[in-house]
Structures are given as C-alpha cells and as structure tokens.
C-alpha cells in the first residue's frame, strides 16, 4: 500500500480548476501546493509566500468562497474548485472598491501582504457587509502586516463597506 501510495504521490496528475472565472487544467503532483501551481504554472504571482505554514496569510485566496492559505492546500484538494486570486478582483482597469480604499487610506505600504489582506477583507465583507471595527480586526487577524499596525487597513475596509452600502 505504501508503495502504491508513494507512486501515486510521485506521479503527475491532471487537475482541472476554475481560476478567476477561467477553466484551467494543470499537470501537477497531487501534494503540490496550490500556491506553487498558481504562481509557477499559471503565472499568477499576486499570492505571496510569507511563511509557508499558514501563519501570515499572504498567500490567501478564495476556494469555493472560503478564504484559504494556498500554501496549505494540496492542489488535488482544489480539483474542480472555483478559485479567486487578487488578479481576479479588479474588473479590467476598474479597481474594486476595496482596492481603491486601500490606496486612498494608506492600507498598502510595502504591498507584500496586500493581495492576501484585500482578499481576506473581500471575504469578510461578503459575510458581513457592515462590519464593526472589532469585526474587521477579528476578520483580518489571520493576515499579518508588519508595516501599518493595521490601523489604515481597518479604515480602508470600513470605507469600502460604506461605499458598497451606498452604491
């Protein structure tokens, strides 16, 4: 059993998944990280590796509307799934309200946590369109930022919520 399992793990598999609305088929090892498949095979480098163990959240993507650390997801687990990365958030040149709010409020400094942070915020606003400050802080607590102290990020999310509500 061990031998067949290890053969299975070492063999390339064909995996289909929908990424930012497009159906993609990749050949990958089953335990290959979704993060690596996105970055190396699909050229979507917006998701970043910060820690490789699910602590920092800079590799965050949406998998069937759930926020996941793509460094912890084997690609086989993403088979037939619907994935949204930061590249899928803006509609063409038109930025998402969240992206605009991050720009205006100073929510992005060095930018390395920003794609994951914006996706975490997007996920939060889907569940809670009018979050309190506490809910924003709690909702983003899986995404580490070393630059901002989070204040301007929290303000950006609150601003985006207000603008979405007004739209």
């Amino acid at each position: 059993m061990t031998e067949s399992l290890s053969l299975e793990i070492r063999a390339l598999h064909e995996v289909s998944l929908t990424v930012n609305g497009e159906l993609k088929t990749v050949r990958a090892y089953p335990m290959e990280r979704l993060l690596d498949v996105l970055r190396h095979q699909l050229g979507l480098t917006g998701a970043k590796e910060g820690c490789g163990e699910g602590e920092c959240g800079s590799c965050s993507v949406l998998l069937n509307d759930a926020l996941v650390n793509s460094c912890l997801v084997p690609v086989l687990q993403a088979k037939d799934a619907d994935i949204v990365t930061i590249e899928g958030l803006a509609a063409g040149v038109q930025l998402d309200v969240l992206q605009e709010a991050f720009l205006k409020s100073g929510g992005a400094q060095c930018g390395i946590c920003t794609p994951g942070m914006i996706l975490a915020a997007h996920h939060l606003l889907r569940r809670k369109p009018n979050p309190t400050t506490e809910e924003i802080r709690e909702g983003l607590s899986g995404n580490l930022c070393r630059c901002t102290g989070y204040i301007q990020i929290v303000e950006a999310v609150a601003e985006a919520a207000r603008r979405r509500a007004a739209a």
Binding site: T45, E55, E87, C110, I112, S141, R146, C147
Partner: protein
Amino acid sequence: MTGDHIVGVSVPRKEGRDKVTGRAQYVDDLTLPGMLFGATVRSQVPRSKIGKITFGPGIAWDEFIVVTARDIPGKNVIALIANDQPCLADGVVNHPEEPILLLAHSDRHLLPQAVAAVSIEYDQLPALFTVEQSETRSEVIWGSDNIFKSYLVEKGDVDGIWKKADYIVEGEYKTGAQEQLYIENNGMIASFDAQQGMTVWGSLQCPFYVHKALMALCNLTADKVRVVQMETGGAFGGKEEYPSMIAAHAALLAIKCGRPVKIIYDRLEDMAATTKRHPSRTRHRTALSKDGRILGGEIELTIDGGAYVTLSPVVLSRATIHAGGAYYWPNVRITAKAVATNAPPHGAFRGFGAPQSLFALERHMDRIAQVVGLSPVEIRKRNFLQPGQMTTTEQTVREPLDLVRLLDRALELSDYHAKKQRFAKENELGTSRKGIGIAAFLHGAGFTGSGERNLSSVVGVEGCADGTIKVLVSSTEFGQGTKTVLCQIAAETLGLPYENVEIAQADTDQVPNSGPTVASRTVMVVGKLVQSAALGIKQTLMGSGLLGDSYSAEQFRSACRTQVAAHGQFRSWARYEAPADVFWDDDKYRGEAYAAFAWAVYVAEATVDMTTYNVSVDDFLALQEVGKVLHPVLARGQIAGGVAQGIGYTLYEKVIWQNGRMQNGQMTNYIMPTSADLPVVRVFFEEMGNVHGAFGAKGIGELPMDGPAPAIVNAVEDALKVPFDSIPLLPEDVFEALLAKREPQSVGGVR
C-alpha cells in the same frame, strides 16, 4: 504654475495601483530563462574548525552546481566596514548558520534534501554567547579583546558631581534581540556574462552596498556590476546589509554555472541566519539635586554585535548619541562598546541603537522620579533640553524647541492625569490592573556626525523627451513611500502636477548613488537634493528663454521637449554639501551629531490581566514634532506602523537562543502582533520648521520605534507597582516578578 500645493497633500502612492492589484513584481515573481535555484549549506555549530565535507548518498550530485570559498574570483569578504565577514566560511566558522557552501539545481524541490545530505565534520572550539561572557575574555573570539568598537563621550566634570549630589540613582536595563520580520523573505537573482558582467535583481534597501560588495567579491570593475532593486516587501533595516551576502552567493553560483540563479530564503532560514536588532545592556548612575535636576551621570552601554563587525560600530554610535535622550546633562560620561559573541551578526533594524539606549533612559527617568519623590511628568519637565543648551555631544539646540509644551499637549490629548487617578482607584478592585506611562525622546535624522559628508550623495532630475520629469536616485521604496514623496518634492519645486513626475527604478546602471535608504535620511537629505536638482532644471529652461517666470504645466512640457530636441539628454545633478556650521569631531565624539532631531512624547495605557498576566495596550497616543509633514497619510502610516513594531518589541517578540542559534524561527513561535492585538494608535503632529530638509521636513521613519517600549513598561509599573527593567516583557516575566514580590511575605506567613 498651478499654484496648488503638492507637498503636504496625500497624493496617491506611485506604485500603489500595482500593489493593490498584485501586479507589483517582487524578486520571487521574476523568472529568467534557464534559471537555476540556489541554496546555502550552513554551519550547525557556533565556533569550530571545519573538517571533512562529505556529499552523502542518495543524491544525484552530478546534477548539482557546488560552490565553495575556493570558487571566489576576488576577495572572500562581504565588503562593508571592517571587511571581516567572509562570504563563505573557509576552514573555520564563528557562528551557527554561517554559510559554508552553495548548491544550485534546476528543480528547487530537490534542494532541501541535497542540503541535508552534505555532512560536515566539526572540530569545535569554545564559544561565547552573551555580553557578559564576551566581557570575561575567557576566549578571545575577535581581535585582541572581543571589542568591535568603543566610544567615549565626555562633557563637563562627572567625577566632581557625586559629592554634590542629593540623590544618586542607579539602574541596569536590558533589551533583547528582535527580528525585523518583513513579510517578504530575502531573495536575489544573479546573472553573469563575461562581456556584460554581473547583474543582480533583489529585495534590498541599498543598491550601492550590494554593488560595492560584488565588485570586491567578483573582482569586477564598477561598470561590470549592475544591481536592480525589485519591489521590496518590507525591510526595516533587515535588508540593509545582509542582501550583499545573498547577492554574493547567487553571483558565485551564476558565475560557476553560466546561468541565472535565484536564491529565495524560506522563513526559517531568513529568521535563523540573517540579522536582528542588537541585544543591549545599559547601566545608569545619575546624580541629582534635591529638586530633581540632573547634575550629571555615567552611562555605560554595551551591545551584542554577534560574530562579525558588520554595522555594529554605526549602530553603537547612534545608541551612544541617543543615550542622554531629550534631557540636559551638565556633566556626563558615556562609555559604549559593541562586543563579539558567537551568534549570527546583529544588524540594522529601524531605530538602529536608539530604541535600546532610550528604553534604558526612559525607564531610568521613572526610577529617578520615585527616588526624588516627583511625578514622571515633573521629573521630565525639570530636565528637558531647552533652546541654547547643549546635548551630550555639545550640539547646541538652535530650534525653538519647547518640550514642556509638547509633553503638556500629549498629557491633554491622552487625558493622562484623570486616567492616572482613576486607574489608581479602580486597581484596588477587580481581576486586572491598569496603568499609564510616558516616554519623551528624540531621534536624529540622517547619518551620524561626519557620515553625510563622507557619503557625498548625488541626485539627478531629468527632463525627458516627452516633457515629463524623472527623478534619479538610488533611494529605495519598501513601504515608506520614497517614490511618492520624492516625486512630490520635485513636482512642488517645479510647479507641476504630481502626475507629470515619475521616478526611475533603483538600478545602479540608471541612477546615481544617493546613498543608502536608512537612518531616516531619505526625505530630509535626499529630498533636499531632489529639490536642488529640480531647481536646476527650471533655471536652465528659464535661462535659455524657453520658460517664462510663470508658466502652465503644458508650457513647461513644451519647453522641456524643445530643450531635449535641441540639446539631447537633459539632466540636472545635485551633490550633498555639509553646511559650513556643522562641526563633528570623530575622535572626541563631539559636535553636531545630526543635522536635525525629531522630538516626541508617547503615552501608553496598559492593562495587566491578573489571571493570565497578559499585558495589553489599550490606548496609545503618539505626539511628535517632525518638521513639515509632506504626506499626511504616509506619515501617519509610518508612525502607526513603527509603534506597532515597538509594541511587538515590548510585549510579544522574544528570540529564544540556544548556543547562538535562534530556536523559534517561525511565525508560529516568534509572535508578532495581529490586527486583533493592537490598539488604535492615535497619531498627532506638531510642525516646527527645519532648515535642513526639503520644504522643512525632518526624518520620521525610525522615531516611532524608540518610544513604545519605555512608555508601555512605565505603564506596567504604574499598574503593578513592580519595576521591570528588561524587554521583551512576556506574561511569564510578569508572573515571576509578582511571585518574587510576594515570596518573602508568604514565606514569613507559612512558617
């Protein structure tokens, strides 16, 4: 001219759109054709002779590129200050994680197993791990006395003051190492071609530091080395000197294999092997008059530099000059030294020595207040530096400084007095204790002493063929907003819309050496040069009659286009010139230490949970005087972010050492604050003009790192009435201190 101000307005970040869309290119996002991946085999022991190296079984070694010290074309050294740190260990190692050899392969997944399969025989030597061990000189591990650098600052007659003193207050204070913990790990790509020379792309702060290091290592002339900064995902000093090492490694592999090589550290390697903030120990002995005025004092400051000199002399310099803080010392003697231990070299980290010596001083001021019987507020007010007085290095305060007013405003904004009373009352009940603490401090902007004169930075501004303006600097963007603010300065100087000004990528082939992006110098020093160079552009266009005294943006563009069409490349340069009245004596450590100081008062409110001994910061007020604020959103972001790192330094971030090696090099066990842990930092600015910076700006980036630790620990003492003199202060430390306080009573009671 448009007439609208650009400086002082929160314009959009130049690279902001790329950052929020995920398009910004960091080094790991770049792939070159035929590129291999590199990895580093590191020392497993602190201090040792290196014996036999064996390439173990189970690895297809013929597929790997292997580089040792013998492959280095030039000098085996990372050129910086003392040039004592090898690029690859040759025969001996002096700290754990010291690089010994390098591997490269086209499949990055094969590298970890290969690194693990290299076995190295060690013939270990005795090692030193603490400042105290280093001081005993039981082993001499560096030079003749284990001392990398020492400074002596003397002002007045310290020896004569003790007999005049009504009080003598002593204290010893310690700070721990701190990891910069930028979210983007270190990384470099190198490509070598015998004709073109060496090119590296990387995550870095100082392109010309890397440039200098590669020239010496590869034995190449300046024109054969090119360093390009990619978008950099946080740095905080952590990408000041160590990137030269990684670039050197990638370069050696690239030379050997003739293909581009990428080295990206994982988190564990980055945390264990690269630099951290210097641990420190500071001793104060202070003489005071009956009414609480400082008569003088001795300050003895020691920092742990790790195994090689690297930047320790410069860090020590800043620690030394900041040791007397924002107070007037009629007499003082500061003795400072950086010592060697067998740990990876400690290095640059935001604040650069000042957080260490200011933690000691601002804790000591609270101790003095208790001994003298004054409040923490009053002891500070009685000793603040005033205009016309001289700092410890005998630099006269020439600006209209009013620290009493700054402190009073901070107390008012934080509702200090009412809260202090209320907490004292409420602390008698309940399962938590609250306290409030203050720290008053300063931070010098720019290089210390003669540093700026020696750097002799150059900045260029180019009028382009399409009529737009391009700023040419080696100053790098890594979150602070360098690109944005320098473009604002050029636009304001030229009276052009912000959108008409761009900034070149920091590429040593394209930009002049405007110095390293460190020491809170970018806006104040480089910004001023951008202003001068931009003025040169305007004067040339006016002088040639292409531009009148008043003009529209379109008229400027047209004039610029005409100039380029007629005369070709149109550039204006500005080089730093030290003001005539700036005097600094490197031997006596006396004179104008910095062109300008920023001043601040921070107030922290903390709660100690008496069940878990967890300390949380409930409110944080940061009031500072930083000259003109050029971009309010960015400036606030710098302060809030710096305070967050300061809170981490104080209450969360503890490096666990064992035999010189970090044991907790992961984000799971080295804990930095999350959005759920931090208070709202309330940021306020006072603006007092400064003649040295562009449009009156001073340095801002490092200042907020200095104040949180003492303010918070002062608040914890206020809450618990127990003094804490070292950081980090974790729940177990609070618990032990409270236990120690209770112990004598309980012993008496039980027996």
